[in-house]
């Protein structure tokens, strides 16, 4: 292989020594062998053997790809990708307006970021999605499990019970209306206990724990292969307080973003992150922008911004590779995340109540 020594994933000190000794391509390294290598550079035999193993692996990976081998390669034509995308399910949010602007719901294999001011409903949506990902396929869901990583401590189990109960009831109503065979079977497994037992909850208290958790996540997902949703509620919180070195923060966040997209891709899961808002003070005015800086804005594939407009909650799709920018209104009810009910329809019980757990917004409090 004509792969340059500088492009191989070796330790920097080793690479410097190889360059000084005059090695240029990987083929030369493989030709020399471990004994010759350890003599020329002055490293121990074991280190030389390890280095050669790494080189051999890289070259074999390249050769497999050239020969058109499959396996862990992530290469295909756009036509195959299109077929894959069309057969992939979405995680619905139970708010049809939001599903429409997202193109069907939260997409698998992509990172979706939800930014918003405090109290606007980000954690509510995350809990709704953790329940919705488990909806059986015959009802239009993806029948997966969920991983919930909580950094702010805002996960309330009794609220999830409310949401799950409403979801199960909704499915029962559909089953009664349509009367199909597999609906009955699916409903037996789709019960409240099952839903709660398939949400894997992790609590991380600072950024080190969060990074470690994300690092260990691929192993966890290989064991639990049915997980289709990873929620990190509050990715901004551990990185915003008590961080002196901003360059380090940017580096860590970028590395985290790459790890998450690898997880989303390899395990066909949707990754949902929630972010906070911060104020940018401009020349003549100040605006609310998502926190964690400009470079973090590129990490998410899809970005939703939740905001207020005179006590009406709005969601704007700000960044998406396939959908146009749009704004819709939504509501948080006792059943969870829902569409705004038009005022003419008053039959649905409790459909227009505001969430009793969040204090109501009044004119005087809003800035």
């Amino acid at each position: 292989m004509q792969r340059e020594v500088g492009t191989l994933p070796l330790a920097p000190a080793l690479r410097a020594r190889l360059a000084a000794a005059g090695f240029q391509t990987a083929q030369e390294l493989l030709d020399t062998g471990p004994c010759g290598l350890s003599k020329e550079i002055g490293i121990s035999r074991e280190e030389a053997l390890e280095a050669l193993q790494v080189v051999r692996q890289e070259c074999q990976g390249d050769a497999a790809r050239t020969a058109g081998g499959s396996g862990a390669t992530r290469k295909c034509t756009a036509l195959e990708l299109l077929e894959e995308e069309q057969s992939q399910g979405f995680i619905i949010t139970f708010c049809s307006a939001l599903d429409n602007i997202l193109g069907g719901g939260v997409q698998l294999t992509k990172i979706t970021e939800i930014c918003g001011a405090p109290g606007v409903g980000k954690t509510q949506l995350c809990m709704q999605l953790a329940v919705d990902v488990q909806i059986p396929e015959c009802f239009g869901g993806v029948a997966g499990e969920a991983v919930f990583i909580d950094t702010e401590g805002s996960f309330m189990v009794d609220r999830v019970v409310d949401i799950a109960a409403a979801c199960v009831q909704h499915c029962h109503l559909i089953a009664e209306a349509q009367q199909e065979e597999d609906h009955g079977e699916a409903l037996e497994t789709f019960s409240l206990e099952n839903i709660l037992s398939h949400i894997y909850y992790f609590r991380c208290r600072d950024y080190t724990e969060l990074l470690a958790q994300v690092y260990l996540l691929p192993e966890f997902l290989s064991e639990h292969s049915k997980v289709r949703l990873v929620v990190i509620d509050g990715i901004a919180f551990p990185f915003r307080h008590d961080f002196e070195d901003l360059a380090l923060r940017t580096r860590l966040l970028n590395g985290l973003a790459q790890q998450l997209i690898i997880i989303a891709n390899d395990h066909r899961a949707a990754v949902v992150l929630t972010n906070q808002m911060t104020t940018r003070i401009g020349q003549s005015q100040s605006t609310l922008v998502p926190a964690l800086g400009e470079s973090w804005g590129h990490a998410a594939t899809v970005r939703l911004i939740f905001h207020w407009d005179n006590s009406q909650r709005l969601a704007t799709l700000y960044k998406s590779p396939s959908q146009k920018e749009a704004t819709i209104a939504y509501e948080i009810t006792s059943h969870g995340f829902r569409d705004v009910q038009p005022p003419a329809v008053t039959a649905s019980a409790g459909g227009t109540e505001l969430n009793p757990r969040k204090r109501p917004r009044t004119e005087g409090e809003k800035q």
Binding site: T7, G68, C76, A257, I261
Partner: protein, 327 residues
Amino acid sequence: MVVLRAGLCPGLTEDMIQLLRAKGIRTVVDFVSSDLEDIAQKCSLSYKALVAVRRVLLAQFSAFPANGADLYEELKSSTAILPTGSPSLDQLLDSGLYTGEVTELMGAPGSGKTQVCLGIAASVSLGLKQHILFLDSTGGFSASRLYQILQAQTEDEEEQARSPGETEAGFVLQLEALQRVQVERVFNIYEVLGALQELRDRLSQQVVSSVGSLKVVVLDSVSAVISPLLGGRQSEGLALMMQLSRELKTLAREFSLAVVVTNQVTRDSSSGPLKPALGRSWSFVPSTRVLLESREGTWQKPSTQRAASLAKSPRQPTGIQVELDIG
């Protein structure tokens, strides 16, 4: 700096190498730059043999000067200008993407870089019927969006005739165009380098079936794979970035490809101006840089209009701005 090895050229035997190494001559550069009479005496080797070896080594390893006129002729015959699918962007880039060069698109999140790349992929695969390699490092490639753009482009072309036979042929054309776009998901720098190396191997072996007539390589985005390595006390990230830039430029030049990369923008402080990511060292790599911005500047009024301005170009004056519609 190639190490002297037996078999590099006829006449260079293992014994000769051992004798030379004993005198401190290990690489080709050491050999060629040393005094041969001196070596012949010290190592007791034949002077004629050494001169012959030096001649062969020089022929193998040195670069030859080329005539400017010949270079110009070669450039005229091998450079192609590829339309990007958007007439205003073509106007900005002096009629399109030039092969043999690296072009960079930079912008804030949501400014439309991936959309422009998809537009280029659609126009090259549908209009020119050439292959294109898309290296996706952010997971932002959406095949359904590419299909939408292809449909919009075929509709533009076939606005007159609307019989069922025509639309069927249009559908087949779109499927063929989709097959010409190869997508590879690469999420760290070593995978990118491996993918580029593999592309180079395939192109030099001229395997026509899988690559076909490859004309464009898109890397979306380069800052996603390099930013985690930059900064801190190690200079390793910078070294890898320069390796990558060398790979891209030599690929573009040797195989007459147009290379398109997308980059992010950052801010110095919370109220500073936007500047491209990856710093000053990267700014010398692309020959053309285009900055994409959205019109409004905030997220409260969404629209599909974008402004593209030329930040660096070898042919046009900088500062030209055009309007783009990525809808």
